[in-house]
Amino acid sequence: MKAATWRGINEIGVEDVPEPTILNSHDLILEVNLSATCGSDLHLLGGYIPAMRSGDVLGHEFMGTVAEVGSGVTRHQVGDRVVVCSFISCGQCWYCDNQLWSLCDNGNPNPGITEALWGQSIGGCYGYSHALGGFAGSHAPYIRVPYADRGAFPIPDGVPDERALFASDAAPTGWTGAHQAEVKPGDVVAVWGAGGVGQMAARASMHMGAERVIVIDRFDNRLEQVRTHIGAETLDYEEVNVVAELRERSGGRGPDVCIEAVGMEAHSPGPQYIYDQVKQQMRLQTDRPTAVREAIYACRKGGTVFTLGVFAGLVDKFPLGAVMNKALTLRGAQQHGHRYIPEILDLMSRDEVRTEHLATHVMPLDQAPKGYEMFKNKEDGCVRAVFTTQN
């Protein structure tokens, strides 16, 4: 079968790969209908997460139709339309049982890599480097889904594929940020980044009763999507002083909750960006934490800052003094999607969560190199390139 693969830094290929087979009794094989690009793929593409091997199949946000089930699968049958959580979690360990699914003890067959990096290993993820298990991704006609009874979710009738697709990663990641940051009624929430995850974090915050939700970005088309499809306020950080604007919009206090949905390749105007770029390119830091710094600076005293964007390793000039003296709560997580996907699908079925606008560019899988280029460079207003795989 043809699959979109990582060939090297800034190089995507479309090449023949073997079809997946069932390896564990809890596996299913999914015929992929739609598979999305994700901002976190760009960190792989740019070589910022150096655990990709040439030939690795990319893609971790996907939905499709069950093509085959292992002998231990009880909740799914061939022909079911399902969406699959991007994280691979067993459902049997303490972390899964405590709803901290991305921290699964058993979902990553390569725990030594992340234990060396972070002290502990987390669960696995499709198409997201050998550090997170080395699993094949979803930019292919077929994908193996381990722990299928836990990670695959039936899509309610009436929810279109283009909407259900984002219940795989963007929406539950947003829900993870808002919920784990403990957004509550009356809160002012600021979200850095108006991509798919940032938009969903904003939508989740509104769903959880936030009084005001303000999303920060620099791309007009994304900010327009936030206003039109999410219903949140926006700030263009190239046009205004973000910290001052947030103070004004929060009664002089600062946002109660600041959610960072940008990650390790943050951009900002001014010399700080150049400094971070130079240090990152010289491998003196692995990640550019510009948006995290601003979130910490903007957050109200005693508030919460949540890092939802993907970071890999070490950052420089981290404002620990502000964290300590302002008594901030600093949290982060990959998505605990298994916890939120059923609720999100229900909300999708009632039109309370709409995501199809994120799929600005839908194209056949053999155009994946072009799709990634458009996505990376934000060409033609690309928010997400989505690949159809059955043609």
Binding site: M1, A3, T5, R7, G8, G13, E15, D16, V17, P18, E19, P20, T21, L23, N24, S25, H26, P50, A51, M52, R53, S54, G55, D56, V57, G72, C90, Q92, C93, W94, D97, D105, N106, G107, P109, N110, P111, G112, I113, E115, A116, G119, Q120, S121, G124, H130, G133, G134, F135, A136, A140, P146, Y147
Partner: protein
């Protein structure tokens, strides 16, 4: 005056150091007594295996773990390892520890074993992880053969492959 002060400081520091050593020793003994019920080091400590315990917490009741019928990855070791089993606090499951009876190589030979990839403790680490999966899930998660395209023979890729081959055995555990 200065010498008196120095003497006092020295005496105080020695006192603190002695207390710290005593406290540290006490803490170590207490931790070991918890971890190793009935196996406190004694005058015969010289024969105690130098290998430290490798421990995982299995999310299963203590009664569900039969030390006489351990999962295959640990059972295969037979008398080569000691095993401890203890209920974890706060309903976190059961702590399952293992250590080699024969001390693993140390110093240069130990470092060489790690480089060669035949550190016996690394193999035991992998066995513990697989035992935990068998107890919790019933089978060990596989990833290979994984579908992939052409592998280019780049230096970085070869290093990554070498790291990945050993990633189930390495780590902090």
């Amino acid at each position: 005056m200065t010498s008196t002060l120095e003497h006092r400081m020295t005496t105080t520091l020695e006192h603190v150091a002695t207390l710290a050593a005593r406290a540290g020793g006490s803490v170590v003994r207490q931790v070991r007594s918890v971890l190793e019920p009935g196996a406190l080091p004694t005058a015969g400590a010289a024969v105690e295996p130098a290998s430290r315990w490798l421990v995982v917490t299995v999310y299963r009741e203590r009664a569900e773990i039969d030390t006489g019928n351990l999962p295959a990855p640990l059972a295969e070791y037979g008398d080569e390892i000691e095993v401890l089993v203890r209920e974890a606090a706060d309903a976190k499951g059961t702590e399952l520890g293992a250590r080699l009876r024969t001390p693993p190589p140390s110093g240069i030979s130990g470092a060489a074993a790690k480089v060669r990839g035949d550190d016996p403790r690394a193999k035991l680490r992998s066995a513990l992880r697989r035992a935990k999966q068998l107890l919790e899930v019933g089978e060990v998660l596989k990833v290979d053969p994984v579908p992939h395209g052409k592998r280019s023979a780049t230096p970085g890729g070869l290093v990554l492959e070498a790291v990945t081959r050993r990633a189930d055995r390495e780590g902090v555990l």
